[in-house]
Structure formats: C-alpha cells, structure tokens
Symmetry: C2
Subunit: 213 residues, 2 copies
C-alpha cells in the first residue's frame, strides 16, 4: 500500500513536469509566431491548448482521488494541495501563450509588434521562455535554488512591461490604435505569464519548506 | 468529533461568503471610482486588497488543516478542494478590482474612460458588480440555479469586451494612446473579473453535483 502511494506521488510529480514541458513548448512557439508573424505556428499553439487543459484536468482528478483514498499528511499533503494550484497556474500559462499566438494570427500577414517595440517584445518572450524552462527544472529537480531565479526573471519582465507603456504613451512612437491595443495586450499577457510562473515557484517553496515566506 | 468537523466545514463556507462580500464591495467601489474619477475611493479599494489577501490565506491554511486532520471524503472533500480554488479566484477578482481602481487613480483628475465608451464601461462595471452579488448568493445559499445566471452575465460581459475593441479600433473614436491603453486594460480587467466569477460558479457546481459538466 505504501509503495502504491509513493508511486502515485511520483505520478503527480511526473504529470506536473509533463504539463510544464508542454507550456514551455507553447510559449516558445507563441513567441516565435508573434515575432515572425507565423500564422500556422500560431494555429498550432492554439490547437495544443486543449491537450494541456485535458492533462491538467486529469491531474486534478488524480490529486483529488489521492486526497480521498490515501489521505496524505505533511509534505505529501502539501504536494497534493500544491499540485492542484500548480495545475491551475500552468493551465493559465498555456492560456496566455494561446492569447499571444492569437494576436499574431489576428494581425497576419501584418506584424502584431508595433514599430519601435520589436526588441522589447523579443526580450519579453525570451524571459517567458526562460521562466518556463526554470519551472520545468524546478518541478523535475525540486532544487529550491531555482525559485529565486524565477523571481529574478519576473523582476526583469515587470521592468520591460513598464517600459512598453512608457514607449507606447510617449510621442516617440506614433502608433495606430491597433498597434497600441496589441502592445498593451501582448505586454500584459507576458507579464501575467511571469506572475503565474512565480505562483508555481511559490507553491514549490511551500511544498519543499512548508512555508510561503 | 463529527460535530467539530461539521462546524469547521461551516466555518469554511462562512469565510468564503465573507471574502466574496468584500470582493463585491471592492468591485462596486472600483467601478464607481473609475466612472466618477474619485481618487480617494480608488485609494480605499487598493488598501482593502490586503485584507482580502490575508483572509484568503487564512482560509487556505484552515482548509489544509482540515484536509490533514479530518480527512474529509465525498462532498466534504469536494468542498475543501473547491475552497482552495475559490479562494484563489476571489483573490484574483480583488486584484482586478484594484487594477481598475489604479487606472482611475493614475489618470486623476482626468477620467480614465475614453470618450464614447462611458456607457459601455458603466455597463461592464454594473455586470461585474452583479456577478459578484450572484457569487455571494451562490456561496451563501448553495442554490445551483444561480450558476447559470453567472454564466449568462459573463456572456453579456464578453460581448461588451469585444465591442470596446471594435470602438477603439474604429475611426469613429479618435483616441489618444493613453485612452486606447486605458480602454484596453480596463476592458480586459472587467472581462477577467467575469471569468473568475465563472470559475467560482464552476467550483460550486463541482461541489454540489460532483461534476463540472
């Protein structure tokens, strides 16, 4: 019985890693589609969202079954509670990757990136991808040192997010309303992606240490 | 022991209602601050966010304690899992009310509402407030009929959200970049508020029926 239980905990961890890997692929493809105006790549990101949602729902059900049947305590309980929350965050990250891909698709064959902001958005996309990679590493290795790395990347992302508004609102970049809407939404999506990555990192901290501080 | 357990389940339910009531007050004040450019009301919404966060954290801790010590099953377990998820959604709704209040404060003494969109945003705010009221009612009465009402309100909200972009991007409303940014963000905040209300409704459905369909 104990062995079955340990196996089901490993299953949960493996599923989290699997979902995080799919999120990483999604944000990488969404970012590429956004910066290169690749409509078919954007389409594939949107299609893959369903798979991530299905996996997250399966994970939730498994977690609830473990809570009901095996009644874990201490760090095992924290992993189950954390898994429920992390699956929700990973699902949101996948949603946001889809939103970024949708912007690319809406504007195709035009670029969704306003002039003068190309470098900033490429950097934001790279930060999101790096954060997704760190989340995969954190879930796989449970190495607490990665948590601070995720937070640092999020700080960089927040700075860029502020910079986008500064540029859009300045007179230097004379934007059309479409450009302003796209920049505003895309920047917000990138920023929220980072916030959810930090949420996942915090849940791992809670699991590893029993504290969220 | 059984009585203690029943009392702790009621506690969880009461705390959810309490947090939902605070969220309702927040979105009501945020909406008023946004439409009337009331900076001090906006400030109070921002200040109250901390209280909601604290209450949500306390609720999470209580839920985890119940899972660990009283090992609920069946609908009691669903309520605990649902409480963890609903507290996260309610906290996000409070965040979004704060974001709307922040827009009002940033633009003060100017209005954050672009010309030509005043009626639309007043209607979006009213829908958000109504959804928050329905969520309080749903949590308090556990009346499943309210779930569909929440979904219907969200459909109306999504329509208005699409309309905002249509107007902002049309030539009829010649907006400054600031106006376009504000309208884009505010509309997105209102729409997300509705999405989280629907999430809470879905969790109640899961609790009441054991199914999310």
């Amino acid at each position: 019985m104990r062995e079955v239980f340990q196996q089901s905990l490993r299953d949960v961890q493996n599923r989290l890693v699997e979902i995080a890997e799919l999120v990483e692929a999604s944000i990488e493809n969404a970012t590429t589609a956004f910066s290169s105006s690749d409509a078919s790549l954007a389409e594939s990101v949107i299609d893959e969202g369903e798979q991530i949602e299905r996996l997250a729902n399966e994970l939730d059900q498994q977690t609830i079954d473990i809570l009901a049947l095996q009644q874990p305590v201490a760090s095992d309980l924290r992993l189950m509670v954390g898994a429920l929350r992390m699956s929700a965050s990973l699902e949101r990250m996948a949603d946001l990757a889809q939103h970024i891909a949708q912007l690319a698709r809406y504007r195709y064959p035009e670029s969704a990136i306003p002039k003068g902001l190309k470098k900033t958005f490429i950097r934001m996309g790279a930060l999101d991808v790096e954060m997704a990679q760190k989340i995969v590493e954190l879930l796989r290795t449970q190495n607490a040192a990665v948590i601070d790395e995720v937070r640092d990347l999020d700080d960089d992302l927040d700075e860029l997010h502020a910079k986008v508004f500064e540029k859009v609102l300045s007179d230097r970049v004379a934007e059309t309303p479409v450009g302003v809407v796209d920049a505003t939404l895309a920047s917000r999506y990138h920023e929220r992606f980072g916030d959810h990555a930090v949420s996942v990192a915090k849940q791992m901290q809670f699991f590893l240490s029993g504290s969220t501080d």
